[in-house]
Symmetry: D2
Subunit: 432 residues, 4 copies
């Protein structure tokens, strides 16, 4: 039998708290899961620093990836199969793309990519097409199969329906992470009736749509996403940890660039500092490696690096206040000056951070990151964009909500305020 | 106000998926949670290698510790307070002991302690009494408070009732881990009616007992524990990972002892190899550090260390077969010889492992690890040992169940069996 | 000890699937629950005809009432007690009002009250103040206590804070029914973080408010309510059963008024037909009695009464189509005429029904059923109306959504359409 | 297309809180669900009087029946289909038998059948084969189809595998009711990993078996069943209600037999009193009808009937004490005499009741109600009876547990004890 059609003798399952079981029959899927680059996702947390606020959020990208695969498998096997709009030859490709869509994520992706100017999507492509176990397995399906998987994930694959299952405003990725992140954090948001959404999804030429009878389930899903963003993903305390993480990496890079001699040579980071890294070096990095360095750096002579590292490892995070960049720009400049005078480098100790979310949007051609809207299939067979039918969704469509915060080491200021009048002044300006 | 009575201005909560919320009012508790030695528990998984079978089991000892605290808090605040048998002066002590009972756990405790002949309970004591943030905080309650906490955890504290809440056959530790491990693995075992058990718990001089009306809830708890042991804790695949981990550490120690020069100097381990480590060095070790070394060791010249490390990191585990040490001792010797002839060092590649559980036991004075039995308070006020009342519990009382397995690298044998007749012979003997 | 302060020797609990346990310590509460007028609520379903669509919805008003009591008890005992804005002398009164707020509900309330022009709130008052077991028990607290309970439920009690816990836009009533109805129907809507809302509720002079930090939990609650209305409470199929029920009662009344001689004398209904009923007769009516009559009426000679009764009992409901009363008024008149010509009395066989919901509203003085808005306590201590802070809530505030449907016996039309051209014409006009 | 193969155009689903959704594709199944005899099951509670203790237990036999159907559907469609041991021609028959296995249950079955010496299984047969809507539908599949369904339910059908899915020690009936009753009562027992059991079920010639790897899930199921029996099904308070119910019916029959003239003629019961009832009369009885009569009987002149009826309707149940029939026989006789002297007819006011359960049993040929044991399919392919492999199950195999209680009106005795020395004596003898 051809490899692409090979089935396991007995179905294998993974016990999963979110979907109960994840079912695997295809030999290709089984092999990909066993590949070292996929196993590596066990060492990358799904939610970065969020576990420092919601302690349950220690789950890895490994099972999120399995979850996305499982949802796509159910969409195809229980819903699409047999319908004329669905081409079952795309099944294995779609499943592989679902499983591998996050393959290139690095440790604490957001901060890491930000500092080193990287993009995890490029790494996903690089791992799929490079000299890797995953590539070796996919190539056994057909020579061009790794490239096709890369195209689906990269959204350039011609069959838009396939792409839409992995990346759209109601894709398997989002449906899995909302539920999974809700489960592991324990928050009551993030629940919606996925069973129902799966039942009413229909394949169309350009994308998967949802029948009108499922509109309320979709509304509930959009609201879940909205709540998860503001209650979990943008939680100011995990952003505080993220700020510190970013500043640690900045400082280390700065020190390296300026010739500082590390007590413990930052081998794993060197090639990132000077942008000469190999794929293999990227793959070797995981969150355990990063925190191992942070532990070393706690004892570096550079007090900024040592302090920030210690803050991250021992969870002595920055405090925060709201601020409005439009009206308080001057005040931040003043504060910045005061920090400098007080001996606290504002580059590291007075950090502004913004979070911004667009809960749902319809099509805005030409914009960056344009997102296909969600379409409902009306009783008469026509398609109608979701926000035209739902006044709840309409209320938040295209409305970007942004939140600005200033982060700073309140503990230092409070401790020293009796000795240091500048500290007192800073605290006053921050209304603390 | 005295520190020991100080309350937070507003109650603080942690969102917890198992107990919904964990409530903190006491300043001491809040401070202890913030201590670096307690935060370190975030970097130690609750279930060691189990996440390699049940992918959700990535949760850390940090929240299990919070959970045990919360259960004890509820037992005291909602149940015991106001009853004449309960001395509320012990409240803070009991809460601290609950929170800190696992403080000394190291990374992958079981394997680590086994190879380096350590005992995490000693480290718990050492951290409580040593030069640590935790000690500094506890000492502010009273000079002898750290020692008292250590005594409760060490089971030498005179008030046996206090001890029993942390360590008995139905203590807060077990009640939390059964539910928590069930939640994160997603298995359906591990559920029992804790609400009911808490409602029927009564303080007695020597220990907490349960009123007769709660017997069935206790039976259910005992069964949950039994099932969790065999379905989750002793799962043969996580034991396979444990076997490999143990052998990695053995090999590294052996290489160090025999003068092998590591490519990457095993700084973190050196003092453990020669038993000269300081408390600080123990605290610095976590699972991220361990896996960082394993990644380095994947490229060591010693093929055994490199192979085992790679197996752990990339989850290429050993296969296993059941064996009976009583009747198959000869066979294992033969196999061992065959492995050696085939160039596979049986010390590392043919490993026997046993798991054994005593689901419940009544008092057997003089035995090591003697466990207080569970007592029911009968309608007439007398106490009766659980297995006298419950025929289900009686059926498993004192019955040790043991499971023996042989672990070996089946992948190597299968791959080489066409070239190597010894491999074939080994596979035959193993019935593979 | 005074009756009002009397406590049970041991706390009693009811096992409740929604709140786990319902806790009772007060002797008064325990006695009220045992009163026959309260036990009667076991014979009245919480959701009327909804069980004919969501089969799990067979739950009675009995446990909803216990649930509202439990929520109020937790608000007071775990949240308000000890705060200066809360007067703990109101505790027992508030608990009694919570427990008894639905006491006057009759069988299939909506249809029943509609046809006989009754109001269950008047009956609640009547039972509280009449010659009943409940009155006897409440009077033992103090002579004016039954009246005070009636005042709280009737919203005329001077302490508005007490009233707001039972009836406001975020009261214990709504919080219980949303969760309970979601649990028993099995839908995934209806979940929100009540624990959090309870934690952030604060007593104020006029009403309970919610601190700003709990805004998202309140948003989620409002959305849950919105979804439950449209997905469950206004489900067109349960409205179909409601339509039939209403028409059965109409017909029976009409027949009685016009001198029809029933095979089985409608004893229980007689006094309602002529509006001479006694309180005792109202209390004697329950859903079992009603369906017992419907079974008798299935064999009455009046074909309309017989047919409608059989439809209800055997769940042969009416089909429905959407219609717009503004634009399709003429069409309905025509249809009505056609029904008459075809021998189907449109009074009973072509029924329009509307559902309408105002998911949330701010204060509109002078309007009927004016509802206090939900206030947030801002970080600066000021109160702010919810829709000013939440753009999601703002989007649906004051927006009444209405749905109009026409109900008719499609089965009859389809069966007879080959013989009867009028049936065909009707079906065409209805686009069936 | 033949009726038996006819599929609905779109799959229909029922929202079910236990199985999420119940899926129907077969036209026959859809039609049977709509039949009036099946709809009648909505008016019969699944757990009789249990709702008087666990208030959530108001659920009807209607959805339990749907649940059993759904489990069997999943066993067949997801597990058995395609395996050589399974004959897919039996699919529709098995589904119909699953759906209809409880069709003949009457109101408060246990008491009703007991007093009138009836057997609901005979009524199931009678409805299947009589002049009913269900029969009409099944006959359209084939003339002998109703008889075949009756044979499967009656366990006389030749294909024992089919029978075992509906009635064995691990059948769909038990798997549904344990979970459903646990859900609606809210108890934490009753949960087991059904997903896993379904995955490891295998068709064999004589019955469905479970592979060895699923043994622990089966153990858990057996324990769930054991706990549900003693915690829920045999709860002494619901047995108290059952005792009263039985005595009401006894008394009404006795009064009828002795020529008593009822104020309200017991039309619905007359034919049962003299054993002349027709099937149609049996079908017309439901729990609403029964409680309607009980309400009437509350005002009968016969004080026993009036008192017992009032006790049931208003939940003023009997109190109970344990007793040992072997050693306390004399004492009961004495008590009985005392009751008589005190003017309380012991026939109605001193009632002994026993509950007895055999949690699991292996085959005991020749015994009444012999039950097929559960077989495990061992790794070597052989079958092994469960209790041989599981020491937990072994511990309870064949061990009948029995509980005896005496029920009596404690309220009357307490109220009158100051006036009546006999009451005092009775209370003393009962240790109250």
């Amino acid at each position: 039998m051809e490899y692409k059609n090979e089935k396991l003798k007995e179905e294998k399952v993974f016990k999963d708290p979110v979907h109960r079981y994840i079912h695997v029959r295809d030999k290709v899927i089984w092999d990909v899961i066993g590949a070292r680059e996929f196993q590596r996702l066990r060492r990358i947390r799904q939610l970065g620093t969020t576990y420092l606020v919601f302690h349950g959020a220690e789950h890895s990208r490994f099972h999120h990836s399995l979850g996305v695969y499982e949802i796509v498998r159910r969409i195809i096997d229980d819903g699409f199969q047999g319908r004329p709009e669905w081409n079952d030859d795309e099944r294995l490709l779609t499943l592989c793309a679902a499983l591998l869509h996050d393959l290139g994520h690095g440790p604490f992706s957001h901060a890491f990519e930000n500092v080193f100017d990287l993009d995890h999507e490029e790494f996903t492509q690089a791992i799929l097409l490079g000299n890797t176990e995953v590539n070796e397995i996919l190539s056994r399906v057909s020579e061009d199969f790794p490239q096709k998987v890369a195209d689906v994930i990269g959204k350039t694959y011609p069959d838009k329906l396939v792409v839409s299952l992995i990346s759209s405003q109601i894709d398997a990725d989002r449906m899995d992470y909302l539920q999974r992140d809700a489960y592991f954090t324990g928050v009551s948001y993030g629940h919606f009736d996925m069973e129902r959404i799966l039942r009413v999804m229909r394949p169309k030429e350009e994308q998967a749509v949802v029948t009108y009878s499922g509109m309320h389930a979709v509304e509930d899903y959009i609201m879940s996403r909205y709540q998860m963003y503001w209650q979990v993903y943008f939680h100011p305390v995990s952003r505080s940890a993220e700020v510190i993480l970013t500043k640690i990496l900045h400082r280390a890079k700065y020190l390296n660039d300026t010739g500082y001699v590390f007590k413990h040579k930052p081998t794993h980071f060197s090639s990132f500092f000077d942008k000469t890294f190999l794929l293999e070096e990227y793959i070797a990095l995981d969150e355990g490696v990063m925190t191992t360095y942070f532990q070393w750096w706690m004892t570096e002579e550079d007090t900024i690096l040592a302090d920030l590292s210690s803050r991250f490892i021992n969870r002595k995070l920055f405090q925060y206040v709201d601020f409005n960049p439009a009206t308080e720009y001057e005040k931040v400049l003043q504060l910045s000056e005061l920090f400098r005078e007080a001996g606290l480098d504002p580059e590291y100790y007075l950090v502004s951070d913004s979070s911004s979310d667009l809960p749902y949007d319809f099509y805005r051609p030409g914009e960056e990151n344009e997102r296909l809207p969600i379409f409902l299939e009306m009783p008469n067979g026509e398609l109608s964009e979701l926000s035209l039918q739902s006044n709840i969704v309409d209320a938040i469509t295209g409305k970007r909500r942004t939140d600005h915060k200033l982060y700073f080491p309140e503990d230092v200021l409070l401790k020293g305020k009796d000795q240091n009048p500048l500290y007192r002044k800073i605290l006053e300006m921050l209304n603390r």
